[in-house]
């Protein structure tokens, strides 16, 4: 293995300081063997570097761009597929979740409706009178003696209470009301809710 003067390689690598470089260049002028050695290194390097001038098959480079374009089209297709691969399941999940929520809601409404029906059909008059009507003060109601036929107008439709039942509850409470229409909305709602709750619990048992 031929040993090269490190100084020459340092010079060619640019590793020398400006002072070292000046000294080396001065030495080159006075030392023909060093100069010859440097020329040899440069010639070998030039020989190595000449490989970059080797002629390449131009057909390869002419075909390179179409090949890359082709790969790019494939790449775009794969990218699109990847995106679809994410979008399609996402849409399916959203649709499925929406459907499930809708169906749950629907069955809940159906269940509530059927429970409400049961509540109304299983109203226990005494229990209702004992537990419920006494809790209401009906402050906004003015007692009076008159026809109770108006009462059924103000009972919510869904409750399906017969007029005789309503009259019974009111009689039980020993309170006569005039202008039942003056019962406020929230009060009426509270009454309805409590009626429903009592009988819902009963039905559930």
């Amino acid at each position: 293995m031929k040993k090269y003067d490190d100084e020459i390689l340092k010079y060619l690598s640019g590793l020398m300081s400006p002072g070292e470089k000046n000294n080396f260049e001065e030495k080159l002028l006075n030392d023909p063997s060093l100069k010859e050695e440097l020329e040899k290194v440069n010639s070998t390097l030039a020989n190595i570097n000449s490989i970059k001038d080797i002629e390449l098959n131009e057909i390869y480079f002419n075909n390179l761009l179409p090949k890359v374009r082709n790969n790019l089209a494939g790449y775009k297709r794969r990218k699109l597929l990847k995106e679809y691969a994410l979008i399609v399941p996402a849409v399916i999940i959203i649709l499925f979740t929406s459907y499930t929520i809708f169906m749950d809601l629907k069955s809940e409404i159906d269940y509530s409706t059927s429970i409400a029906g049961e509540v109304v059909n299983n109203i226990d008059d005494d229990e209702l009178a004992n537990n419920l009507l006494n809790d209401y003060s009906f402050e906004s109601v003015i007692p009076y003696q008159s026809s109770r036929n108006n009462l059924d107008i103000y009972i919510p439709e869904n409750l399906n209470l017969s007029l005789s039942n309503v009259s019974h509850y009111v009689d039980f409470a020993k309170i006569d009301y005039s202008q039942v229409e003056n019962i406020s909305g929230p009060e009426l709602e509270r009454l309805y809710n409590n009626l429903s709750m009592i009988n819902f619990e009963k039905v559930s048992k």
Partner: protein, 183 residues
């Protein structure tokens, strides 16, 4: 400077949707990309793979080019990094599959260098380059074949100029010894 401006114009055209600008950039840089990959990897098939990979990356990432550096140093950054990754992948593959050099010889017959003398010449240089650690090979190739300055190589590799000079010195010493051993 003019070349830099032309490159920037082409990039701007491409970014604004002119696909032909990309074709022009490919035509301009394809040989440089191929040669760098070839000298880093020593084999046509590997160089071809990396060249195509780099051109696809170029197409996809050109929109992110910041115009802070010249386009060709940016391209060299991509091709040299990809080449180093390819070397690592091949080494790993070799370890896993117990691939031997005979298979490499068989593969290397597929080449775009038709002249036998030239092919022998390039093989001789590649054998010397194969003995270098990948990072030294990278600096030797960038400095010698691509004729880049240390400052440009520093921009590409992210290494200090002093470190690059030292690396180049060791690479040069080894290559000179190996090449002269063959002569």
């Amino acid at each position: 400077m003019m070349e830099k401006e032309n490159d920037f114009e082409l990039v701007e055209k491409f970014v604004s949707g002119d696909e032909t600008a990309f074709n022009l950039l490919v035509r301009k840089y394809q040989k440089k990309i191929y040669w760098h990959a070839r000298q880093m990897l020593g084999d046509h098939l590997d160089a071809d793979e990396v060249t195509q990979e780099v051109l696809i990356v170029l197409y996809n990432k050109l929109k992110t080019f910041s115009y802070k550096s010249s386009l060709y140093t940016w391209i060299y950054k991509i091709v040299t990094t990809r080449s180093l990754n390819h070397i690592r992948k091949k080494k790993l593959k070799k370890l896993i599959t117990f691939e031997n050099d005979d298979e490499k010889e068989f593969v290397s017959h597929q080449d775009i260098i038709e002249d036998i003398t030239n092919r022998e010449k390039i093989d001789m240089v590649n054998k010397a380059l194969d003995k270098l650690p990948p990072k030294q090979r990278q600096i030797f190739v960038l400095r010698n074949f691509d004729q880049l300055t240390y400052e440009e190589i520093s921009e590409i590799t992210g290494k200090s100029v002093g470190g690059l000079k030292a690396n180049y010195f060791h690479a040069l010493k080894k290559v000179m010894e190996l090449v002269n051993e063959k002569i």
